[in-house]
Protein backbone atom coordinates (compact mmCIF):
# COMPACT_ATOMS: atom_id res chain seq x y z
CA UNK A 1 0.00 0.00 0.00
CA UNK A 2 1.31 3.45 -0.81
CA UNK A 3 1.56 5.45 2.44
CA UNK A 4 0.98 8.78 0.67
CA UNK A 5 -2.72 7.99 0.17
CA UNK A 6 -3.31 6.74 3.72
CA UNK A 7 -5.17 9.06 6.08
CA UNK A 8 -2.71 11.04 8.13
CA UNK A 9 -1.95 9.22 11.36
CA UNK A 10 -2.37 11.22 14.55
CA UNK A 11 1.00 9.86 15.76
CA UNK A 12 4.21 11.74 15.16
CA UNK A 13 6.37 9.32 17.10
CA UNK A 14 7.24 6.35 14.84
CA UNK A 15 7.25 3.95 17.81
CA UNK A 16 3.78 5.10 18.87
CA UNK A 17 2.63 4.66 15.28
CA UNK A 18 4.01 1.11 15.25
CA UNK A 19 2.21 0.34 18.50
CA UNK A 20 -1.02 1.68 17.00
CA UNK A 21 -0.53 -0.57 13.95
CA UNK A 22 -0.04 -3.59 16.24
CA UNK A 23 -3.23 -2.75 18.14
CA UNK A 24 -5.11 -2.33 14.86
CA UNK A 25 -4.00 -5.75 13.58
CA UNK A 26 -4.86 -7.50 16.86
CA UNK A 27 -8.24 -5.75 17.23
CA UNK A 28 -10.29 -8.05 14.91
CA UNK A 29 -8.67 -11.15 16.43
CA UNK A 30 -10.94 -10.66 19.49
CA UNK A 31 -10.08 -13.27 22.15
CA UNK A 32 -7.98 -15.45 19.84
CA UNK A 33 -4.19 -15.50 20.05
CA UNK A 34 -2.25 -14.29 16.99
CA UNK A 35 1.25 -15.67 16.60
CA UNK A 36 4.13 -13.21 16.45
CA UNK A 37 5.36 -14.40 13.05
CA UNK A 38 1.99 -13.65 11.39
CA UNK A 39 1.94 -10.28 13.14
CA UNK A 40 5.43 -9.55 11.82
CA UNK A 41 4.53 -10.58 8.26
CA UNK A 42 1.36 -8.48 8.35
CA UNK A 43 3.27 -5.40 9.49
CA UNK A 44 5.74 -5.89 6.67
CA UNK A 45 3.19 -6.11 3.88
CA UNK A 46 3.77 -2.42 3.32
CA UNK A 47 6.48 0.15 3.85
CA UNK A 48 8.08 1.32 6.06
CA UNK A 49 9.58 -2.05 6.95
CA UNK A 50 9.50 -3.11 10.58
CA UNK A 51 12.44 -5.01 12.02
CA UNK A 52 12.07 -7.83 14.53
CA UNK A 53 13.82 -5.75 17.19
CA UNK A 54 11.39 -2.84 16.74
CA UNK A 55 8.40 -5.15 16.83
CA UNK A 56 9.64 -6.87 19.98
CA UNK A 57 10.20 -3.51 21.68
CA UNK A 58 6.71 -2.34 20.70
CA UNK A 59 5.13 -5.57 21.96
CA UNK A 60 7.06 -5.36 25.23
CA UNK A 61 5.95 -1.80 25.83
CA UNK A 62 2.31 -2.58 25.09
CA UNK A 63 2.49 -5.61 27.39
CA UNK A 64 4.06 -3.53 30.18
CA UNK A 65 1.17 -1.06 29.87
CA UNK A 66 -1.25 -4.04 30.16
CA UNK A 67 -2.69 -3.50 26.69
CA UNK A 68 -1.50 -6.92 25.51
CA UNK A 69 -1.41 -10.48 26.86
CA UNK A 70 1.02 -13.05 25.59
CA UNK A 71 1.59 -16.78 25.90
CA UNK A 72 3.77 -19.51 24.41
CA UNK A 73 1.55 -22.11 22.79
CA UNK A 74 2.42 -25.44 24.44
CA UNK A 75 2.15 -27.43 21.19
CA UNK A 76 3.59 -25.16 18.51
CA UNK A 77 5.96 -23.29 20.89
CA UNK A 78 4.96 -20.07 19.09
CA UNK A 79 4.71 -16.81 21.01
CA UNK A 80 1.18 -15.48 20.63
CA UNK A 81 -0.46 -12.16 21.43
CA UNK A 82 -3.91 -10.73 22.02
CA UNK A 83 -5.46 -7.52 23.33
CA UNK A 84 -6.52 -7.21 26.96
CA UNK A 85 -9.86 -5.49 27.70
CA UNK A 86 -8.02 -2.18 28.14
CA UNK A 87 -6.18 -2.85 24.87
CA UNK A 88 -9.53 -3.35 23.14
CA UNK A 89 -10.79 -0.08 24.59
CA UNK A 90 -7.66 1.71 23.38
CA UNK A 91 -7.93 0.14 19.90
CA UNK A 92 -11.61 1.03 19.55
CA UNK A 93 -11.12 4.19 17.44
CA UNK A 94 -8.40 2.66 15.24
Amino acid sequence: MNPTTEPEAPYTDPEALLQARVLKILKPCLSYWLDEQTLYLTLNLSRPAVTRARLEAALRELRDKAYLDFRVDPLSRLTEWRLTPSGHALAQPL
Binding site: P28, C29, L30, Y32, Q37, T38, L45
Partner: protein, 188 residues
Protein backbone atom coordinates in the same frame (compact mmCIF):
# COMPACT_ATOMS: atom_id res chain seq x y z
CA UNK B 1 -2.72 2.38 -3.51
CA UNK B 2 -3.35 2.47 -7.27
CA UNK B 3 -6.51 4.01 -8.56
CA UNK B 4 -8.75 1.14 -9.65
CA UNK B 5 -10.04 3.22 -12.58
CA UNK B 6 -6.53 3.17 -14.09
CA UNK B 7 -6.19 -0.58 -13.57
CA UNK B 8 -9.24 -2.49 -14.90
CA UNK B 9 -8.23 -5.62 -12.99
CA UNK B 10 -8.73 -3.89 -9.65
CA UNK B 11 -12.24 -2.83 -10.68
CA UNK B 12 -13.40 -6.41 -11.40
CA UNK B 13 -15.91 -8.30 -9.27
CA UNK B 14 -14.50 -10.03 -6.18
CA UNK B 15 -14.85 -13.54 -7.64
CA UNK B 16 -13.03 -12.53 -10.83
CA UNK B 17 -10.24 -10.88 -8.84
CA UNK B 18 -9.89 -14.02 -6.72
CA UNK B 19 -9.65 -16.18 -9.87
CA UNK B 20 -6.94 -13.99 -11.42
CA UNK B 21 -5.02 -14.00 -8.14
CA UNK B 22 -5.13 -17.82 -8.01
CA UNK B 23 -4.02 -18.08 -11.66
CA UNK B 24 -1.05 -15.81 -10.90
CA UNK B 25 -0.21 -17.72 -7.73
CA UNK B 26 -0.23 -20.94 -9.76
CA UNK B 27 2.47 -19.40 -11.97
CA UNK B 28 0.51 -18.24 -15.03
CA UNK B 29 2.49 -15.65 -17.00
CA UNK B 30 1.24 -12.43 -18.60
CA UNK B 31 0.15 -14.12 -21.86
CA UNK B 32 -1.62 -16.94 -20.05
CA UNK B 33 -3.48 -14.46 -17.86
CA UNK B 34 -4.62 -12.48 -20.90
CA UNK B 35 -5.83 -15.67 -22.60
CA UNK B 36 -7.84 -16.55 -19.51
CA UNK B 37 -9.21 -12.99 -19.30
CA UNK B 38 -10.23 -13.28 -22.94
CA UNK B 39 -11.94 -16.64 -22.29
CA UNK B 40 -13.86 -15.04 -19.43
CA UNK B 41 -14.93 -12.16 -21.70
CA UNK B 42 -12.82 -9.64 -19.79
CA UNK B 43 -10.55 -6.93 -21.27
CA UNK B 44 -6.84 -7.73 -21.52
CA UNK B 45 -4.28 -6.11 -19.20
CA UNK B 46 -0.70 -4.93 -19.53
CA UNK B 47 2.14 -6.64 -17.69
CA UNK B 48 2.43 -3.67 -15.34
CA UNK B 49 -1.30 -3.75 -14.56
CA UNK B 50 -1.08 -7.46 -13.77
CA UNK B 51 1.96 -6.93 -11.52
CA UNK B 52 0.29 -4.06 -9.64
CA UNK B 53 -2.90 -6.09 -9.32
CA UNK B 54 -1.04 -9.06 -7.82
CA UNK B 55 0.77 -6.92 -5.24
CA UNK B 56 -2.30 -4.97 -4.18
CA UNK B 57 -4.73 -7.86 -4.19
CA UNK B 58 -2.33 -10.10 -2.23
CA UNK B 59 -2.02 -7.36 0.39
CA UNK B 60 -5.78 -6.81 0.57
CA UNK B 61 -6.43 -10.56 0.73
CA UNK B 62 -3.96 -11.09 3.60
CA UNK B 63 -5.40 -8.23 5.63
CA UNK B 64 -8.97 -9.37 4.99
CA UNK B 65 -8.08 -12.91 6.08
CA UNK B 66 -6.73 -11.75 9.44
CA UNK B 67 -9.72 -9.44 9.86
CA UNK B 68 -12.10 -12.35 9.29
CA UNK B 69 -10.19 -15.20 10.98
CA UNK B 70 -11.98 -14.74 14.32
CA UNK B 71 -15.41 -14.74 12.63
CA UNK B 72 -14.51 -17.88 10.68
CA UNK B 73 -13.24 -19.64 13.83
CA UNK B 74 -16.44 -18.68 15.69
CA UNK B 75 -18.51 -20.03 12.79
CA UNK B 76 -16.61 -23.31 12.92
CA UNK B 77 -17.26 -23.66 16.66
CA UNK B 78 -20.97 -22.98 16.01
CA UNK B 79 -20.97 -25.72 13.35
CA UNK B 80 -19.44 -28.24 15.77
CA UNK B 81 -21.80 -27.17 18.56
CA UNK B 82 -24.78 -27.99 16.32
CA UNK B 83 -23.56 -31.57 15.85
CA UNK B 84 -25.13 -34.27 18.06
CA UNK B 85 -23.38 -35.19 21.30
CA UNK B 86 -21.83 -33.05 23.98
CA UNK B 87 -18.36 -31.66 23.22
CA UNK B 88 -16.47 -30.13 26.19
CA UNK B 89 -16.04 -26.34 26.10
CA UNK B 90 -12.25 -26.70 26.47
CA UNK B 91 -12.14 -28.82 23.30
CA UNK B 92 -14.26 -26.25 21.44
CA UNK B 93 -11.97 -23.42 22.60
CA UNK B 94 -8.87 -25.34 21.44
CA UNK B 95 -10.54 -26.08 18.11
CA UNK B 96 -11.44 -22.40 17.65
CA UNK B 97 -7.89 -21.28 18.44
CA UNK B 98 -6.39 -23.80 16.01
CA UNK B 99 -8.85 -22.78 13.28
CA UNK B 100 -8.00 -19.12 13.90
CA UNK B 101 -4.27 -19.87 13.75
CA UNK B 102 -4.52 -21.80 10.49
CA UNK B 103 -6.72 -19.18 8.78
CA UNK B 104 -4.81 -16.13 10.05
CA UNK B 105 -1.43 -17.56 9.05
CA UNK B 106 -2.74 -18.38 5.57
CA UNK B 107 -2.00 -22.08 5.89
CA UNK B 108 -5.60 -23.11 5.32
CA UNK B 109 -8.53 -21.42 3.59
CA UNK B 110 -11.53 -21.10 5.90
CA UNK B 111 -13.82 -22.86 3.40
CA UNK B 112 -11.47 -25.87 3.33
CA UNK B 113 -11.37 -25.98 7.12
CA UNK B 114 -15.18 -25.95 7.28
CA UNK B 115 -15.27 -28.77 4.73
CA UNK B 116 -12.81 -30.92 6.70
CA UNK B 117 -14.74 -30.28 9.90
CA UNK B 118 -18.03 -31.29 8.25
CA UNK B 119 -16.42 -34.50 7.01
CA UNK B 120 -15.04 -35.21 10.48
CA UNK B 121 -18.45 -34.59 12.08
CA UNK B 122 -20.13 -36.88 9.56
CA UNK B 123 -17.60 -39.64 10.28
CA UNK B 124 -18.09 -39.12 14.02
CA UNK B 125 -21.87 -39.35 13.66
CA UNK B 126 -21.53 -42.57 11.66
CA UNK B 127 -19.19 -44.03 14.28
CA UNK B 128 -21.66 -43.15 17.04
CA UNK B 129 -24.50 -44.81 15.08
CA UNK B 130 -22.40 -47.98 14.63
CA UNK B 131 -21.56 -48.10 18.33
CA UNK B 132 -25.25 -47.68 19.21
CA UNK B 133 -26.10 -50.58 16.87
CA UNK B 134 -23.41 -52.76 18.49
CA UNK B 135 -24.83 -52.02 21.94
CA UNK B 136 -28.33 -52.83 20.72
CA UNK B 137 -27.14 -56.18 19.30
CA UNK B 138 -25.34 -57.04 22.53
CA UNK B 139 -28.46 -56.23 24.55
CA UNK B 140 -30.58 -58.38 22.23
CA UNK B 141 -28.12 -61.27 22.56
CA UNK B 142 -28.30 -61.13 26.38
CA UNK B 143 -32.10 -60.97 26.35
CA UNK B 144 -32.28 -64.03 24.09
CA UNK B 145 -29.74 -65.91 26.17
CA UNK B 146 -31.65 -65.21 29.40
CA UNK B 147 -34.91 -66.26 27.79
CA UNK B 148 -33.38 -69.56 26.63
CA UNK B 149 -31.89 -70.21 30.05
CA UNK B 150 -35.17 -69.48 31.81
CA UNK B 151 -37.13 -71.73 29.47
CA UNK B 152 -34.70 -74.59 29.96
CA UNK B 153 -34.68 -74.14 33.76
CA UNK B 154 -38.45 -74.24 33.78
CA UNK B 155 -38.34 -77.39 31.72
CA UNK B 156 -35.78 -78.91 34.09
CA UNK B 157 -38.08 -78.35 37.05
CA UNK B 158 -40.67 -80.42 35.26
CA UNK B 159 -38.34 -83.37 34.91
CA UNK B 160 -39.12 -86.37 37.15
CA UNK B 161 -36.59 -87.07 39.85
CA UNK B 162 -34.40 -89.10 37.53
CA UNK B 163 -30.64 -88.43 37.93
CA UNK B 164 -29.66 -89.94 34.57
CA UNK B 165 -32.28 -87.92 32.70
CA UNK B 166 -31.29 -84.83 34.62
CA UNK B 167 -27.62 -85.28 33.74
CA UNK B 168 -28.47 -85.83 30.09
CA UNK B 169 -30.60 -82.72 30.22
CA UNK B 170 -27.79 -80.63 31.77
CA UNK B 171 -25.46 -81.75 29.00
CA UNK B 172 -28.02 -80.81 26.37
CA UNK B 173 -28.58 -77.42 28.05
CA UNK B 174 -24.86 -76.57 28.06
CA UNK B 175 -24.54 -77.67 24.47
CA UNK B 176 -27.47 -75.51 23.40
CA UNK B 177 -26.16 -72.43 25.25
CA UNK B 178 -22.72 -72.86 23.68
CA UNK B 179 -24.32 -73.10 20.27
CA UNK B 180 -26.42 -70.00 20.91
CA UNK B 181 -23.28 -68.01 21.90
CA UNK B 182 -21.45 -69.26 18.84
CA UNK B 183 -24.28 -68.31 16.48
CA UNK B 184 -24.60 -64.84 18.04
CA UNK B 185 -20.85 -64.18 17.70
CA UNK B 186 -21.02 -65.09 14.02
CA UNK B 187 -23.98 -62.80 13.36
CA UNK B 188 -22.17 -59.85 15.04
Amino acid sequence: MSDSSSNPLLALAQEQKENIFIWLREGSDHDAINLRLQDAGLPSATKNQIDVFFTEYAHERWTRRIDRAAEEADALIALVRRSPGQIPEAVLAALGQEAFRQIASGKVESADLARYTSLFLRAREQDRAERALDLQNEKLRLVRRNATEKALDAFARELPQNPAALEAFQNLKNQLLDQTDHLEDESL
